[in-house]
């Protein structure tokens, strides 16, 4: 990659020759409120301006891949919950669809619809956290409380359908663990009716706030070619104006039946690919997710939610790469089976990890305070970065 593809430094400081200056190495994290977990970024700073940034990861490594080799196919599902713990449904979905495609298993219509409803609700919940914590990073506390209030409603819906609030273990091979209880569908529709007007509230209080725009627009610009070169995906890629969404481009489950748009950054407040654009893509995606949930809930057919599959499923020998669109981007499971009871290997291509890799490329030349805005806009979850 050519060096001049990278964004130019934003600040040029002229230093008189008589002044003694030196670089300072600053550890940002691992205990830092705005690194969203246990991320450490080693910053080399020249005064307030960053010369280089190097993310140091591994503080939350839990050996997912090794665990997956030692438990049965089905027992991996609770472990996938713990990758990206704020969008567990989407994690379940990718792994399970991968297995089903390897086994050539057809899933009941109702189960497919329930899967789409829960994963889109989970996408909304995840984007709400992204919004709230991003505001918190920038210094706006109130939106954080508002988004958590609305996220709580989604968690209540999940608790009703599967019993858990965060780590669901809900999407199983052959269907879903539990059918929706009586009246759950109406509650989902009620929630969507309640939720869509609330997005305007977040826009009023945060998105179009002049101070927020000044902090985020034209900051941390990722040009489209840099984004593609670094393997970014999800809202971070779409924020750079690249229209790539696996739900549209490589449809899985029943996403091809729904009418929704792929939102991209347009540079409304500054440059295409700045942090405001990435933030805005998340806001716009909540509208789209709400649209999908409404369509799916209205079309939800009757029938069984669970296919009878044997307890100890056997997956035919072979390998498969299943990619799905999680709130953070392309989550890939590379599953290798030798026909046995346990997976031979489950490799995870984690979107947050790849998105984080762009940080050293865009950090040089920004202020330390903007670093917080950039990390927040990439919306990383350290549980998934380290796995």
């Amino acid at each position: 990659m050519k060096k001049d593809n990278l964004p130019a430094a934003q600040f040029e400081v002229e230093v008189p020759d008589t002044l003694k200056t030196e670089e300072m190495t600053l550890n940002m994290g691992p205990q830092h409120p705005s690194t969203h977990g246990v991320l450490r970024v080693v910053l080399k700073t020249d005064g307030e301006i960053i010369k280089s940034a190097e993310p140091v990861i591994g503080y939350l490594h839990r050996c997912f891949e090794k665990h997956a080799e030692n438990v049965t196919w089905h027992q991996v599902i609770p472990f996938t919950d713990r990758l990206d713990y704020i969008a567990s449904m989407n994690n379940n979905l990718g792994y399970v669809i991968g297995l089903e495609r390897m086994m050539n298993l057809q899933v009941n219509e109702r189960a497919e619809y329930l899967r789409v409803i829960v994963s889109e609700l989970n996408r909304i919940a995840s984007h709400l956290i992204a919004l709230g914590t991003y505001g918190l990073d920038i210094g706006a506390f109130t939106p954080f409380l508002y988004v958590f209030r609305d996220r709580e409603r989604i968690l209540d819906l999940f608790e009703e359908i599967c019993g858990a609030r965060l780590l669901y273990n809900y999407i199983w091979v052959g269907g879903v663990a539990y059918d929706a209880p009586q009246g759950w569908r109406d509650k989902v529709l009620q929630f969507i009716d309640y939720f869509v007007p609330k997005i305007k509230e977040y826009n009023d209080i945060l998105t179009y706030n002049k101070i927020f725009i000044d902090r985020t627009a034209k900051v941390g610009v990722i040009p489209a070619d840099v984004a593609i070169n670094y393997g970014l995906s999800g809202p971070s890629l779409r924020g750079s104006g690249v229209e790539f969404d696996l739900r549209k481009d490589d449809p899985y489950s029943i996403y091809d039946r729904f009418d929704f748009n792929v939102c991209t950054g347009k540079g409304q407040m500054g440059t295409v690919g700045d942090t405001w654009d990435r933030y805005w893509v998340r806001v716009a995606e909540m509208y789209e997710s709400a649209k999908i949930v409404r369509q799916a809930a209205e079309q939800l057919p009757e029938g069984d939610a669970k296919e009878t599959v044997p307890r100890n499923i056997k997956v035919p020998a072979g390998e498969y790469y299943m990619r799905t669109e999680t709130p953070r981007g392309e989550l890939g499971y590379y599953i290798i089976s030798d026909g046995g009871k346990t997976p031979n290997r489950v490799k995870v291509r984690s979107p947050a990890y790849c998105n984080l890799s762009v940080l050293p490329a865009i950090a040089p030349g920004v202020m330390v305070a903007d670093m917080v805005a950039i990390i927040g806009s990439l919306d990383i979850v350290l549980g998934e970065v380290d796995r």
Binding site: I77, P78, E159, C162, A164, Y208, R311
Partner: protein
Amino acid sequence: MGEYFKNIYKAIVTILIGMGVTWRHLFTRAVTIQYPHVKRELPPRSRQKLFVDIDDCIGCFQCARACPVDCIDIETVKAGKEEDLGETSTGQKKRLHVVKFDIDLTKCCYCADCVFPCPTECIVMTPKYEFSTYDRFDLIEHFSAYSAEEAEKLKERDRKEKEALAAARAAKMQAAPKPPSSDKPGPSA
């Protein structure tokens, strides 16, 4: 200069819009509850503490095998020929003394994988969520109906029975004529 004042004007207006939202929220009902005094009612499916109805357990180990984190520890002893352990509420005959049924709740990941394979539906997740303790060993739940002495006695009996069986088998093997060794091909020369 015009830009400067425009910025100030815009900042004030957008902040006022935001303040309007918060102002409206002043008059809505609070969504928080005063937790220890007021408690939420959890839905019946809520997956919190595990509970085992030991009267219904037949000691089949299905839950222990399904557990991804191996937090269920079961030991069983075969019932004697003349012993009748009764039936479970689902009408299955119990043939094993479940002398140990421990669940380590510090390890449990609340995935409910153990609940589904149970043939008698005796292991369930309950909506009970307040079980913090001062000692982590208190989080190991003992569900077995047998006291430690009773369990030891049963295990001792089982051991003796097994020894007797093994001895009888050995005696039988001694008495039986040895199979001719020339039939078996030896290790490759």
